[in-house]
Every structure is written in C-alpha cells, then in structure tokens.
C-alpha cells in the first residue's frame, strides 16, 4: 500500500473541498472496497478524507412520502430498516444478497454505489486493462470473461458493475444527492449516475472530481410484490452471475432492473410494458442488442428463466 495522509471531515461541503484541493485525494467510508484495492495498489490515493463523521447515517422521510437514505447508512441498517422492509422490499432483499454480515456492517450506501468492478484482469496489475490503465488494452475481451458484461459493452471494456443494492435502487427510480466542492448541491437520477464504458471505462460515474454523495432518495412507495433474485456460483457470499430486481403489481404493471449484465444496473423501461406477456416478451426488448462471448452467452437464457420464475411467483 502506498503512503497517504489522512483527515476526518466534519461537513459534506468541507469533505468535498478537501478532496478537490488535494491532488490524488479520495473519500473513504466503510473502506471495504477502497482498502482492498489500495493493498493491491490498484488505487493509490495520496490523501484520504474520512466521511464517517458527517452525520449522514440517518434514514428520514421526505416531504413527498419517500425516504432519504444518508450516504453513510450501513448496508445492514438499510436492509433492516422497517420502512424499507415494508415499502421497498426489493432493496432489503438486494442488500441481504450481497457480501457477508461483517462486510454489510461496514459497507455504506455511497461506497456500495461506487464500488469498482470485479473483472479479474482489473485486479491483476500484470495484465492489460483499460479501466485500470487507460490505453493498455482489455485482457478480458478474448480472455476469461464468463462473468462479464453482455449489454452496453464497448471494444475497450466489458466489465460489469458488481453492486446488488444499485440494481434495486435503479428499479425504484432512486436519486443520488451530492454536494460539490463549491458547496452547490445537485440531485442525479440513478439512471444517469453510472456510465457505460465507451472509450473511457476508467470514468465510471457522472460525479465531478471532489463531488461528495450525501444521500440517496427513494420516491414514494409504488406497492406491488418485491423480489430480488440473484443467481451465483454458490448459495451465499458470492457476486452475481445475473440478478433481477422486480416490483410486480397485481394489474401486471411493474419495474425490472438487471444486475451482472452491464457496466451499470440494466433497465429498459419499454420492456416493462410486456410484463403481462411473459419473460420472453420482456427480455426480447430488454436484452436486444446483447453482445455475448462464448463463455457468457449463458446469461441470456439465465435472465429469461430467472425472470420467468419471478413472474410466475408474482402471479400466484
């Protein structure tokens, strides 16, 4: 690990300003992703700004009947919150399907959104990787890519975003609230928060340098049955091969977002009109234009069948 200086910020605006004014600075929240990557020197911050003292660890109601989740709320507390369990079950389910009890006790809302890919070549500094070292090439294209993306890929990068939580937040139309180094705040719809890899896979979100996440808000509850189905290589404590976050209402309308398929949670709103026509009708639209490799083509039928199971269950 490279040496770094360390400070504890006491307000979000101060934290943002501190990161903006120090070249090579980063925020640290739970540390469960950043420290992992710092040990491998994939991340090499020269200065860390600890955001744990910002008072952003609360979940509060919003004026329009939704919830504001502080950026520092731990994944355990978010999953266990009674309002979330009752009104946004898909979010509790997604969180509980991720990582382990120990990790969820530390992992935060903001850190979870910003966790980096689990592409094996991103983790191996001996291999080319455009995300880790722009312009070096992509070892995954033509390499071991069984668990990599099939939607929205580019010829520079086929990594997936590993978060379960973010997939549920996409289905729930969450909004990410931030404060910028100049003290101005803004709200970014989750659909516009993460980016596709394109020619710049190293730029993963539309956050500006130093921009600090303060909260994620959920709009008022939309009812329906909430399901998060994650398919993985072992029954617990493994990243998703694919996942489906679903909210299905009795009248056949609903929301669907998919994990393990792309550089961001994957949702195609037009496909949701087809929920009543079954899984194939939905995936024909949601997964149109898929670009698979021989190793990861299994994800297409896996998504369709997983969704089929969810829709059958929802109708029962």
């Amino acid at each position: 690990m490279r040496a770094f200086s360390f400070e504890r910020a006491t307000s979000p605006a101060e934290a943002a300003a501190a990161v903006a004014r120090t070249p090579g600075a980063k925020f640290i929240a739970g540390g469960t992703n950043l420290l992992d990557l710092m040990k491998l020197e994939i991340e090499t911050p020269t200065h860390l700004v600890d955001v744990n003292d910002l008072g952003l660890d609360k979940i509060t109601p919003t004026d329009d009947g939704g919830l504001r989740i502080g950026a520092l709320v731990r994944n355990t507390d978010l999953a266990a919150d009674n309002r979330v369990r009752r009104d946004y079950g898909v979010l509790s389910r997604a969180l509980l399907a991720g990582a382990s009890g120990q990790l969820r006790n530390k992992a935060t809302t903001a850190g979870n959104l910003l966790q980096r890919t689990r592409c094996p070549y991103f983790y191996d500094p001996a291999m080319p990787c455009n995300k880790r070292k722009p312009g070096s090439g992509c070892a995954a294209i033509g390499g071991f890519n069984r668990n990599l993306a099939i939607m929205g890929v580019s010829d520079k990068c086929i990594a997936t975003h590993p978060s379960d939580m973010a997939v549920a937040m996409r289905a729930l139309d969450a909004t990410v609230e931030t404060v910028k180094p100049d003290g101005k705040t803004r709200a970014i719809p989750i659909a516009d928060f993460h980016r596709l890899p394109g020619d710049t896979p190293q730029i993963e979100t539309n956050l500006q340098p130093g921009e600090c996440i303060t909260a994620v808000t959920l709009p008022r509850p939309i009812g329906g049955k909430h399901v998060y189905h994650k398919v993985r290589d072992r029954a617990s404590y493994a990243f998703a091969l694919i996942s489906v976050a679903a909210v299905v209402r009795d009248d056949g309308t609903g929301r669907l977002a998919f994990g393990g398929l792309a550089h961001k949670p994957w949702r195609v709103e037009a496909a949701e009109a087809k929920i009543g026509d079954g899984a194939k009708a939905v995936t024909d639209i949601a997964l149109a234009g898929a670009k698979t490799t021989p190793q990861n083509a299994f994800k297409l039928p896996l998504v369709e069948r997983t969704l089929g199971g969810i829709l059958t269950e929802a109708r029962a």
Partner: protein, 211 residues
C-alpha cells in the same frame, strides 16, 4: 543461523510466507511481488478501547485495525487469513458489530470499543461460545476459530436484534431461529478444515436450541 533453523528464518516469517501462498488464490502474484515505493509514511495517533482497556497508538496511517491489534497491541488471537475481506479470520467486534478488521484502518476508529477473542473470555472464564466450540469440537487446525467465534457471538445478537437475512422468508416478521438462518449469517467465515457442522452445533447449544 543455527542448527535448529538451517534456513535461517523464524517461525513468524515462515507463517508470513504461508499467508502469501494462501492469499494467492485471490491476489495475483505479480501484485505481491511489486516493490514498496519509496514514499514517506505518515503517522497519526489514535486512541481506542480494546477489550476494556484504553490504548493509544502512534501508527503509520496504512496500518489496518487487524495489524494494529496483532503487531502493535500483541493481540495475536485475531488472525490474518486472506487480508481482503474474503475469509473472515480477522473478524472482531467494533462498537457492538462484527467487522473484517483487515478492511478497516486503525485511524478510522478513534474512541471505538473493540472486542477481540482475547476480550470475549479468559482461559479460566470462557465466554459461553468459546466453551461451546471446545465442547462441540468446532475447529480442527483452529486458525479460523477466533473469527468464527466473534462472528457466531455477533450472529446471535443480530438475530436477537431482528436483523433479517437473505434466507428470511418474511421480511416484515422476526427472523425465525433456524439452521438455515445461522448458516447464511455465518457465510462470511470460511473454514478450510470444514468444521462447519460442529460450529453449527456450538451455536445451537449457546442459543439454547440444541439440534
């Protein structure tokens, strides 16, 4: 170099090289071989309460909570397995919650209350979970055991607190006490010897639900 130790390395160094091999399943060799850069270490003071005792340390900011416990406070009960949050051997209880001490910096814990395996009980006054692990043979080599025991204690607390898990069928109800629940909640602690079934017996025993 002496006759007892012909290759001239001590036990600690041998263990350290053993860790490197174990970690190689998850960490590329090339990353480990990289020379340390000649950058200047930064030092910081941090005070925390460890097993009921106030301790102040002056540390390189890079020191993880795990290394602070093992290398600076000589509490070597907590073990370093993968050092990447994947195995759970480093599990300790901080402010009432179990965490992976390898993925946390010591300087992030001012004023924290840390409980390690040494603080749960003493040889002459074991914590019920420690006794139960002995009674049910919840280990073989014992390397993952301190983490398993800290995790097991916290798991029962999390169930009492009504925190749901991935296998809880009814999200809005109180999670039922079951083997499936315990297994899912303990999945962050890996045991290479495969003592899982005896660990389960120990946990059921402590929870008063002997199988």
């Amino acid at each position: 170099m002496n006759d007892d130790n012909p290759i001239g390395i001590n036990r600690r160094e041998m263990l350290a090289s053993g860790f490197a091999t174990a970690a190689a399943t998850s960490v590329p060799i090339s990353a480990q071989a990289k020379p340390q850069p000649a950058d200047q270490p930064n030092r910081m003071k941090v005070t925390m309460t460890v097993n009921g005792e106030k301790r102040t340390l002056d540390l390189d900011t890079r020191t993880t909570l795990l290394d602070a416990l093992r290398e600076h406070l000589e509490l070597t009960g907590t073990k370093k397995g993968c050092d990447h949050g994947q195995c759970g051997a480093c599990t300790v209880i901080v402010d009432g919650r179990r965490i992976n001490s390898c993925l946390s910096l010591a300087v992030m814990h001012p004023e924290a209350e840390v409980t390690t395996i040494e603080g749960l009980g003493k040889p002459d006054k074991l914590h019920p979970m420690q006794s139960a692990f002995i009674r049910h043979d919840g280990y073989q080599c014992g390397y993952c055991t301190p983490g398993q025991i800290c995790s097991a204690v916290s798991t029962l607390q999390e169930m009492r607190d009504g925190i749901p898990s991935h296998v809880t069928a009814d999200l809005e109800g109180t999670p039922p006490f079951s083997v499936d629940e315990l297994r899912e909640r303990m999945s962050g602690n890996i045991c290479r010897c495969g003592a899982y079934s005896n660990i389960m017996e120990a946990m059921l025993d402590v929870a008063g639900e002997r199988a």
